[in-house]
């Protein structure tokens, strides 16, 4: 005698209630993300679910360094070659042009700008983050390959700064993504940014800049915080 002997009627009802529960979940799916049928070039009809077919739904994994001595050398290389994602998220991005021009020339220190998250390993959050931008920041951050570092610029990323009471901007950045270096000020001078890069280099050389692993470790906590404020969560939980 089998333990789970559910007759077909009950099974049907269970399925229906499951279906109902699924439907009643409030989902924010944009029209272009809905499941749809597409005619392939060869004439066959294929079904596409963009949220699951275009992205990997896999959770991030911790990637521990393997060999201590090799890692020390690699960390030196990482610290001397910091590729910054060119995403000006706030008004701090006005101080990025001075950094790449003669006065403050950050190329001297091996800091370069890259236009795509796939190739960059440092993310400058330049100032306040509105919720709408935070969503894009999370996506860009998750697309960056590990090891990755976050530099938070300005008082507004620390405790909200001038916008502590704004309905649109977040107060603390480290609740949503892990932060390696904070640079205080409104707005911080380019020299402060250069000092921040110096600090980040020290951290990398000491092997302390492992915040990508921290993100993977506390993934559920970060996700809960992110989902609390992003009301229309219409993307996969982790997108590569």
């Amino acid at each position: 005698m089998s333990e789970l002997n559910i007759n077909s009627k009950v099974q049907e009802m269970l399925e229906r209630s499951e279906q109902n529960a699924k439907n009643s979940e409030k989902t924010f799916v944009r029209p272009e993300d809905e499941v749809r049928e597409v005619v392939a070039p060869d004439g066959s009809i294929i079904k596409i679910n963009p949220l699951y077919d275009y992205f990997s739904g896999e959770r991030p994994k911790e990637e521990k360094p393997k060999n201590a001595i090799v890692e020390k050398f690699l960390n030196w290389a990482r610290s001397e070659s910091i590729w910054v994602l060119g995403f000006g998220t706030g008004c701090g991005s006005i101080e990025i042009p001075p950094l790449v021009t003669p006065r403050y020339d950050m190329f001297r220190f091996g800091v370069q700008m890259r236009p795509t998250p796939r190739q960059s390993n440092a993310f400058i959050i330049s100032g306040y983050l509105s919720v709408k931008t935070l969503k894009r920041v999370i996506r860009s951050y998750e697309q960056m390959p590990s090891p990755k570092y976050v530099i938070a610029l300005g008082s507004c990323t620390i405790n909200g700064g001038m916008y502590y009471d704004s309905y649109s901007t977040i107060n603390r950045l480290d609740k949503y993504i892990p932060v390696d270096v904070y640079i205080a000020g409104c707005m911080p001078r380019p020299e402060a940014l250069l000092a921040g890069f110096g600090k980040l280099k020290e951290l990398i050389k000491e092997g302390k800049a492992e915040k990508a692993n921290e993100y993977a470790r506390n993934f559920d906590e970060y996700k809960a915080n992110q989902k609390k404020i992003i009301k229309d969560w219409n993307m996969p939980d982790y997108n590569w």
């Binding site: 994602l85 101080e95 003669p102 709408k132 894009r136 001038m162």
Partner: protein, 398 residues
């Protein structure tokens, strides 16, 4: 004829076909159109802004702008701050030229409280100096930035270096590099430091040299001309239809400059003539801005020559912490580097404003005008178009 042959432009009046309600009939599953999102993480989009493009090949058939990535709710925040607390908040509304915001909110509060007649002359001259310096630093980034959009980065490097020098002068004058908070209700915060004029003159000489060099680099450059002439045309008729202001309107042959039309401060005592052009394309806009750069350098020299040596810099004002302004409303406009920049200010008799609304030039340039100019443009020209319209997202969404 030959030019038209190589610069092949499809006739968008024939396709895509238009539905009955006026929308375009675009079927994405027909493999004819591509949906492409440009921004917010895109080096070719000015600031933090997104564009939803429908492409046919690499020509745009429909473009929609999405703003709000920089929304901080300034207008709401100022409503719950005292008048004087609104100053540090308001100047952060647009980072490219913060001084215009300072002046606007100062002028609005002074006008509504009736102190606008008591501002000392010295303060007015200093305000003008600060505003013109702000315009200069904006243009130093903007004029070579137009060539930068076509990957001619060398001018940007020179320009941003000179902008840093102007920011040094700002630092001397106000103590801050980007957000100055120099213009306060009733006057300004300080006099010129000793030797300021000589150091400024040194920098202006460097900028004169830069102006000559940038002309050779950009305006005599065959490929720059090829890329910019005939692109993104704003016609004379479009100026009023879309609310186009500033250098963009002047490049279309509409001579409109708030400094000449409704002189504020002592602009009526200065000798200048806003440059204009007729063509209205990207080249004309950049050329007008380059002339504006020459004119701004000259205006700073004029201001420094005509300015008195000493004088009061602040009017006798009430205690700002208990400052109440009677019920009223006003709209004050000035000419920023990008065009008419105005503020609508409503007070209700309490110690906080009722409503503050900023009208930046980007609000019309960056949404309605840009969306219409995008149609039939190549994706290679989007960045150039945005920079030539001087789109500054933070002042659209505030």
């Amino acid at each position: 004829m030959l030019n038209n042959f190589f610069g092949f432009k499809p006739d968008r009046s024939k396709y895509p076909s238009v539905n009955e309600d006026g929308s375009l009939n675009i079927d994405l599953s027909s493999h004819q159109y591509t949906k492409l999102w440009l921004g917010p993480n895109h080096p070719g989009v000015t600031g933090n802004m997104a564009m939803e493009l429908t492409l046919n090949g690499d020509e745009i058939v429909e473009g929609k702008t999405h703003v709000g990535y920089l929304h901080r709710g300034f207008e709401k925040l100022i409503e719950r701050r005292l008048f004087v607390q609104g100053f540090p908040t308001s100047i952060r509304m647009c980072v490219a030229e913060p001084d215009t915001n300072e002046y606007l909110i100062a002028a609005c509060t002074e006008e509504l409280s009736g102190y606008d007649k008591q501002i000392p002359d010295m303060a007015k001259w200093l305000r003008m100096l600060s505003l013109e310096m702000a315009r200069l630093q904006g243009l130093l980034r903007g004029v070579p930035g137009q060539a930068g959009t076509y990957s001619l980065g060398i001018g940007v490097q020179w320009g941003v270096y000179l902008r840093d020098l102007i920011l040094d002068r700002f630092e001397e004058l106000t103590g801050a590099r980007v957000y100055h908070m120099y213009i306060i209700p009733g006057g300004v915060r300080g006099l010129l430091p000793e030797g300021f004029k000589a150091r400024m003159e040194d920098n202006l000489k460097d900028i004169d040299d830069f102006i000559v060099r940038i002309k050779k680099l950009m305006f005599d450059n065959a490929i720059f001309k090829k890329r910019s002439i005939g692109q993104g045309i704003v016609t004379k008729e479009m100026v009023d239809k879309y609310g186009v202001v500033g250098t963009t309107a002047r490049a279309s042959g509409v001579k409109r400059d708030v400094r000449k039309d409704n002189p504020y401060l002592f602009y009526d005592q200065l000798d200048f003539d806003p440059p204009t052009a007729e063509e209205g394309d990207i080249y004309a806009r950049t050329f007008v801005r380059w002339q504006e750069l020459i004119q701004t350098v000259d205006l700073i020299r004029q201001i420094m020559a005509k300015m008195p040596e000493k004088g009061d810099i602040r009017a006798q004002m009430p205690n700002v912490l208990n400052w109440r302004i009677p019920k009223g409303e006003t709209y004050v406009r000035i000419e920023s580097g990008r065009g008419e920049y105005g503020m609508y200010y409503v007070t209700d008799g309490s110690d906080k404003p009722r409503r503050v609304n900023l009208r930046g030039p980007s609000y019309t340039h960056g949404v309605a005008l840009l969306e219409d100019l995008l149609v039939n443009t190549n994706i290679a020209d989007i960045h150039a178009l945005m920079v030539s319209l001087q789109t500054c997202p933070p002042e659209i969404e505030r």
